[in-house]
Subunit: 424 residues, 2 copies
Amino acid sequence: MDESGIRALIFIGDGLGDRPVAEFGGLTPLEYQSTPNLDQIAKRGECGLMDPIAPGRRAGSDTAHISILGYDPFVSYTGRGPLEAMGVGMTVQRGDLAFRCNFATVKPRADGTLIVVDRRAGRIAEGTAQLAAAVNEAAAREKASRLKGIEFVLKESVEHRAALLMHTEGAQTPCTDVDPHDEGKAIWTSRPEEPGASAESAEALNEWVRLTYEVLKDHPVNQARVAAKKKPANIVLPRGCGVAPHLRPFAEAHGTTGALVVEVALIKGLGRYLEMQIIDAPGATGGYDTDHISLAKTALQALEEAQIVLCNLKCPDLAGHDGLAEKKCETVAKLDECAGVILGAVDLDKTVLVFTGDHSTPVSVRDHSGDPLPLAIAGHGVRSDEVTRYGERPCAHGNLGRVRGHDIMPLVTNLLGIQEKFGA
Amino acid sequence: MDESGIRALIFIGDGLGDRPVAEFGGLTPLEYQSTPNLDQIAKRGECGLMDPIAPGRRAGSDTAHISILGYDPFVSYTGRGPLEAMGVGMTVQRGDLAFRCNFATVKPRADGTLIVVDRRAGRIAEGTAQLAAAVNEAAAREKASRLKGIEFVLKESVEHRAALLMHTEGAQTPCTDVDPHDEGKAIWTSRPEEPGASAESAEALNEWVRLTYEVLKDHPVNQARVAAKKKPANIVLPRGCGVAPHLRPFAEAHGTTGALVVEVALIKGLGRYLEMQIIDAPGATGGYDTDHISLAKTALQALEEAQIVLCNLKCPDLAGHDGLAEKKCETVAKLDECAGVILGAVDLDKTVLVFTGDHSTPVSVRDHSGDPLPLAIAGHGVRSDEVTRYGERPCAHGNLGRVRGHDIMPLVTNLLGIQEKFGA
C-alpha cells in the first residue's frame, strides 16, 4: 500500500440508474429527488457516464461488480453457478465446477426413470440444511468409488434453492443441466458441454444426482413432509454449470488492499473469492429498512483497514424491481444521506470518492436495463469539471465522458498513485 | 502516397497533460499559460480527450508512441529491451531478443562463482565503446562454437548502461535475467522464461556473459581503471529480456510515408524499427534549452518528405518530472510558439494538424499519470466544434469525445483520404 495515506471509497447505488418517469415530468428519480450531497460531489469532482459492461449492454450485479473491481467480465464470467455458490458462503476454488440447484420432487416410473413432479418441492422452506448435510455425508462416503474422486458439496440457500460445488485436483469439464426445466419430464442426463470433451465430470454428476435421490427419498424430513401432505424434496437438480474463473486476488491485481462493505451475499461471495476483506455493517439488511447510515459509517471505518473500499447500497435496485418511482426517490435520498456522512468525515485532499451504480434498474422496466450510470469522482488529484448536479443527464456533460465499469479501477489507482506504469 | 497533396502533422507535447495546480488557482499549466496559437487550432478544429492506452492507464513514452503510431500496445509491447536497443541506435530485427545491460564489476570466489561487487562498475563514464567492441569481436569469433550460432551485439549507452541484441535466423526463447539486481550476490544463470521451453537461447546467453568476463577482466581500459583505483567494468549483466515485436512497417500499416522529428533516442529507435524517416532538427537537444523553433521548422520541412509527420517536443515532460509548475508553463509556451510557426506556414485546406501529448506528467506527481490528454485536430475535412481554447478541460467538451491513442492514426488517415475501407 502507498505511504501517501490516500484512500479511495467507491460507493455503488445498486440499480441506481433509471429512465424518464412521466409523473416526474420526464425526469429520472435521481434527477427528480433533491440530492444536495451527491450534487456537492459532482460539483467538486469530475463526472461522466459509466457503462458497466459496454454501451447498451444489460449487466447483472455480478458482472457489473466484476467489471468495477477491475476484471474483464467477458473473460472472467463463466456463468452464474460459481457466484451463486460464493453468494451462499461456500469457499469456491479456481477451477471448481459450480451449479445452481433446486430441491425438487420426483417420482419413479416403472422402468426406474425419475419424472419431475415439482421443480421446487412445494417451495420447501425448512429442513433443507438437514437434507444437504445428509447428501454431503453420503457424497463424502462415495467420493472414491461412485463419484470418481470428485468432492461434491451442496449448500442450501433460501427456499428450494441450493448451490453445488464439484472440486478435484485434476481438470474438470463443464457439463449440461440435469434439471429438465419443466415438470412432467424425466430428469436429464448430464453430458460434457463441449462434444468430445472428457465425460468424467458429467458421469460423476449423474451419479451424484442419483445418490441424492437414494439419500433423500426416505429421509425423516421428507417422511414428515409426506405425512403433512407436502411434497418431499427427494432429489437435487443441478443446472447452470460454471467453472470458477481464474481471477487474480484483488491485492495482486491492484497492488493494494481492498475491502467490501456490501449487503448482498452474491457480492460478498465475489469479494471472498478475490480475497478482499468483507466487513459487515450493523443493521444493514439489504432491504428498504436497511440502516444506510451504519453502512456509510462502516465504509468509513473500512478505509482504516484497506486502501480501496467498495460499498453497495442495495435498496435502489429493490425499488426499481418493484416498479415504485416514489420509493426509488426515497432510496436515492438514502444514498444522498450516505454521501453526506462521507463528505462530512473525509479529507478530500487525501481521499478519492467515486459515486456510481452497478447497473440501471428503471422503475418502468422493473428489471436491469442497459442504460449507463452517472459517475462522479472527487478528491485527490481530480481535474474537476463544470458539472454541478448529480444525475444521469447532468453527469453526461462531464469531462470523464463515457467510460466502462472496468475503467473504474485504473482511474482510481491512477489517482491513488499506485498503478504500475505500462511501458517506460 | 495520395496525389491530393494533403499532409498531416501530429505534434506531441511529451508529458503535456497535468493536474490542477493550487498556485494557478486549480488550473493546469496548459490551462493557466496563455496559448494563443494552440487556442487557434482548437477553435478551427475538433477537440477531445485522448487516453494513450485506456482510461486511467499510466503509459510510458514508448507504449504511448506505439499506440499513437497506430499499433495496439497490448499486442505489440513485449518489454523494454527492444526499445532500449532501438534507442541506442541499434538495428533491431523482428524476433530478436533484446536486453538492457549494465557494465558491472564482479569478483570471482575461490570456486569460480562470480560475485557482483558493483552493478554499475563505479558508474563508468568512459571507455565503454572500446569494451563493447572487444566483446563484440570475441562474440563474432565464438559465434559458431560457444554461442550456438547466435549473433550477439552489444552497444554502449550512457554511463554504465548498454543494450544487447541476440539475432539468429531461427526462433528464440525469452530468457531470465543474469543481473542479480543486488550487490554481494552471485550472478544468476539465465533460464527460459517459460518452464519447459528450449534452453538454447538462455545457454548461449550464459556463455556470452562468461565470455564478457574473459574478454574484459584484463582489458587495457580496466587495467587503467584499476591503476587509477577505479572499479573495473569486467562483466556485462543483461536483464529485462524482450522479443522484438512483429510490428508492420509504418508504410505498410498505413499505406503512406511517415517521418519522425523527435528528440528522444527511444522514439527515434521505434521509428527506425517502423522504417520511418528520422529527420534530426538542428539545435534540438531534448532539454529545456532545445531550439523548439528549429524543431517546428524541421517538422514543416519533413512534410515535404513524408505525408505523415510526427514531431515530439520533449521539455514539458522534463518540467513534469522535475515538479516545476512555472517551468512547465514555459515549455507550454514553447509548444505554443511551435504551433504559431506551423499555423503561419501551412494551408489548413491541405493539411491536417493534430496537437496532443503522449501521456500526462503532472508536476504534482513528478511521474507519468493515467490522466487523459487534450486533443485538437484541425484542417482538411475536419468538422470543427465549439471549443475555442486548448487545454485538458476545454478540450473535454469537444466533439471528438474521449478517444484512445491508437484511434489517432485512423482519424488522420480518414481525413487524408488514404484509408482502406473495412468492408464494401
